[in-house]
């Protein structure tokens, strides 16, 4: 690669960039005055600190590069005097004089001059010189066309561009442009074909070696990179719009994670097995072995109150599913029927049953017009809302205890099909893939972006699978307890950065998804915690369902605990110092 070298010999010579050195040896003069007077050109080292070739504690930043980036940043910020002063004081010019000349010529439209300067700029690679010349002459060509100087443009094409003997297909395109102003586009319109000169300069910058011409905003780019890395490394990061400062490394504390019970909801008469927030976070639905389901409303302050009790099932209700628009809810009785409810009125709109068999799971189709359910004969059925059966996949598709999910594009159906396998059925391509584990799978949960599956196993591990393309295991989470029951886990928090799970030791467990680190184990319930649901609209709120018949609403530890009124069936919680 040609251009300014960065291998400065560690001698006591004046630290000039190689470009300048070349310029000096060619007899041309330096554009910028260098530090010290001319007698300093010999032997004497530069005074004080700043003689080091590298800066920074790790010794990986080269001084010359660092200073040039700063100078470039000063110029982009508009501080021309400071930029020039830095170049002078450090003795490190931002660009060689030829590069400066080149850039000016481009902006002035001095094409012939710039092509000329290109030869002197110090590029060792002929192909780059040619490609850059081609780019410049192309600009010349288009500008001539825009000025309607067709013959001049043609002359440029014939005598300057073609002799470069590169990019024949582009030459072809260029010669077509001359026929009509908008060749290939809409006829009759006067289109400006030449791009702006500053865009040309940008494109040339990308073509030429980066040591020669510093890319625009390079320093800003490096700083942004650092900030993004900091944020990604922050395992407690759970607040949107967190402003990041350059003064200290970004660091969130645990206080970003909900860890305090704000409310206890007591309305079920038996174990609460399942719960889920609606997509908009305004409602929560819970289901219980007391054969009922409850729709709760979440008010603007995060307070949760009972809205409707849904009775009708003759069996424990194992799961619920919100319609895509959150206006309807499906509930599934264990090996019984699926019921569809209207959320605002609490009315049961339809009951779905199959004679001779029971339904075990349910899910909405993304367009809200159909629903799926797993059947106790191991098949999966698809119904229209009015009850008409549309399709049925037979064979070992689901189990007697089974989850059922559909990706939000409607393409993939996911279901437990064997004790240790999950089936992913691509409805369009009619392709089946499997996730297989060594242990029995008890439940699973799909991420919002449809790319990941969280799988709960019998051996008390939670596995994270990437289901895009080939199914791949990417992480494992441990720490919670599961011995006899179905325990569920879920994604949650800002950008689903966390995994939360219930546990048989009555605690709620929270891990950082990316690192697998266990962040919290929250006590409170007095029975196994069966299910956790994180509010998709509020990263600081999640709910847990337990065998102790209650539902707990969790929030940030600084938050005010909700006082309960008589109508909402929650308990007022006394919390020391909790304001």
């Amino acid at each position: 690669m040609g251009g300014v070298g960065d291998e400065e010999p560690a001698t006591k010579r004046m630290k000039l960039s190689a470009g300048e050195l070349r310029g000096l040896s060619n007899g041309s003069s330096c554009a910028e005055p260098v530090a010290g007077s001319s007698r300093d050109l010999m032997a004497r080292p530069l005074p004080s600190e700043g003689d080091e070739q590298v800066v920074g504690s790790k010794g990986v930043i080269k001084r010359v590069e660092f200073v040039r980036l700063i100078a470039k940043a000063l110029y982009s910020l508009g501080y021309k005097k400071s930029g020039a002063h830095l170049e002078e004081e450090s003795g490190i010019p931002l660009h060689s004089s030829f590069v400066n000349l080149f850039m000016q010529q481009i902006l002035d439209g001095n094409w012939d001059g710039s092509v000329d300067t290109l030869q002197k700029i110090g590029l060792s690679d002929e192909t780059i010189v040619k490609s850059a010349s081609f780019m410049i002459l192309e600009q010349k060509y288009f500008e001539l066309l825009d000025e309607e100087k067709d013959m001049d443009a043609l002359k440029t094409l014939r005598t300057e561009i073609v002799p470069l003997c590169i990019n024949g297909s582009r030459v072809r395109e260029l010669s077509s442009c001359i026929v009509s102003p908008s060749f290939g586009g809409t006829p009759g319109k006067n289109i400006v074909r030449a791009k702006s000169r500053s865009k040309l300069l940008e494109d040339l910058q990308k073509l030429l070696p980066p040591t020669l011409m510093i890319l625009d905003r390079r320093l800003e780019h490096l700083v942004e990179q650092a900030l993004v890395l900091q944020r990604d490394a922050c395992i407690f990061h759970n607040t949107l719009n967190e402003e990041m400062s350059l003064y200290t490394d970004h660091w969130c504390g645990k206080e970003q994670i909900p860890s305090q019970t704000l409310q206890i909801l007591q309305a079920h008469n038996d174990e609460v097995w399942f719960l889920q927030f609606s997509h908009d976070g305004k409602y929560l639905a819970s289901s219980s072995s007391d054969q009922s389901a409850i729709i709760w409303e979440v008010d603007v302050n995060g307070g949760v109150s009972l809205k409707h009790r849904l009775s009708g099932h003759q069996k424990p209700v194992s799961s619920v599913s919100w319609s895509p628009d959150d206006h309807q809810l499906l509930t599934c009785g264990v090996e019984e029927a699926v019921r569809r409810w209207d959320v605002s009125s609490g009315e049961c709109l339809h009951v779905y049953e199959k004679p001779g068999v029971g339904l075990v799971s349910c899910g909405w189709f993304p367009d809200g017009k159909c629903l799926f359910s797993g059947v106790s004969d191991k098949s999966i059925c698809m119904w229209e809302l009015d009850g008409k059966e549309l399709e049925c996949w037979k064979g070992q598709r689901s189990l007697r205890i089974s989850d059922l999910e559909i990706t939000s594009d409607g393409k993939q159906l996911i279901s437990n099909c064997r004790e240790n396998a999950i089936l992913l059925l691509d409805r369009e391509a009619k392709v089946e893939t499997f996730i297989e584990e060594d242990q029995t799978i008890t439940s699973f949960s799909l991420s919002r972006d449809n790319r990941f599956l969280l799988v709960n196993l019998l051996n008390q591990e939670i596995h994270l699978w990437n289901i895009e393309g080939e199914n791949k295991l990417v992480a494992k989470y441990k720490g919670h307890k599961r011995a006899r029951f179905v325990i569920r886990s879920c994604f949650g928090g800002l950008e689903e950065a966390f995994v939360a799970s219930g546990s048989e030791d009555s605690q709620v467990y929270i891990w950082h998804r990316g690192s697998g680190e266990l962040i919290e184990a929250l006590p409170g319930h007095s029975g196994a915690v069966n299910c956790v649901s994180w509010n998709p609209a509020n990263p600081h709120m999640f709910a847990s369902a337990s065998d102790d018949r209650t539902i707990r609403i969790w929030g940030l530890s600084g938050q005010k605990v909700k006082h309960r009124g008589a109508h909402s069936n929650g308990i007022h919680l006394n919390c020391n110092g909790g304001t």
Partner: protein, 215 residues
């Protein structure tokens, strides 16, 4: 079938048929003098305007082959008005011949203007876009014969265009656009190749028209 293929040399052929075939070839290719003397020798009939038309077609053909497209277009308009309007492909091909002539004569300004005014409008229709690009690419080169599109300058190309023009004119006057002789040879070749397929599998050479003519 009436005759066993192996006894093809016993098929009866009418002399008149043979004469028609030869005549069709001569007329198609505008060999006026030969037609006249053939007709005189064999007594075959030929349609009234035949000679005159042949003359005209011959001139058009020659103009096209020489690259004098403007003249060819003029004469075509005289002989077969509206032919070129109905046959846009042909029209484009002829105009492009003229363009090529200008390019070869290094008359760049004229070539550019001609392209912009006459060829450009064709560019609005998708199927001409690639062709148009092909021709415009010639303009970019000082020495068009060294450009990637040099074949457009060749005699072969001009011949091709001239042939298409000839066929179009014949078609316009309700004459067959292929001579019977040509068709027969094409068909014979296919049939014989088909028939000799089995022989070829046994190692014999396939049918070759050239060899047949020489033998």
């Amino acid at each position: 079938m009436d005759v066993d293929p192996r006894h093809f040399n016993q098929v009866a052929i009418n002399d008149n048929d043979i004469n028609s075939i030869v005549l069709s070839y001569l007329v198609h290719n505008c060999y006026k003098e030969t037609v006249e003397s053939f007709v005189a020798s064999t007594g075959t009939k030929q349609p009234a305007d035949c000679i005159e038309d042949m003359e005209k077609r011959k001139r058009i053909f020659q103009c096209a082959v020489e690259g004098n497209a403007q003249k060819a277009i003029e004469l075509t308009e005289e002989l077969a008005p509206e032919l070129l309007e109905k046959n846009k492909d042909l029209h484009f091909d002829l105009l492009s011949l003229h363009f090529v002539e200008l390019v070869c004569a290094k008359k760049c300004t004229e070539a550019l203007e001609f392209a912009q005014n006459k060829l450009g409008p064709f560019g609005k229709v998708d199927k001409y876009v690639t062709k148009l690009e092909d021709f415009m690419a010639l303009l970019a080169y000082n020495e068009p014969e060294k450009s990637p599109m040099f074949h457009l300058l060749s005699l072969d190309y001009r011949q091709q265009v001239a042939d298409s023009l000839n066929q179009a004119i014949l078609g316009h006057s309700n004459l067959p656009d292929y001579s019977a002789l040509e068709r027969l040879i094409q068909q014979t070749t296919v049939v014989r190749q088909y028939m000799s397929e089995d022989n070829v599998k046994n190692g014999n050479p396939p049918f070759s028209l050239k060899d047949f003519i020489r033998s």
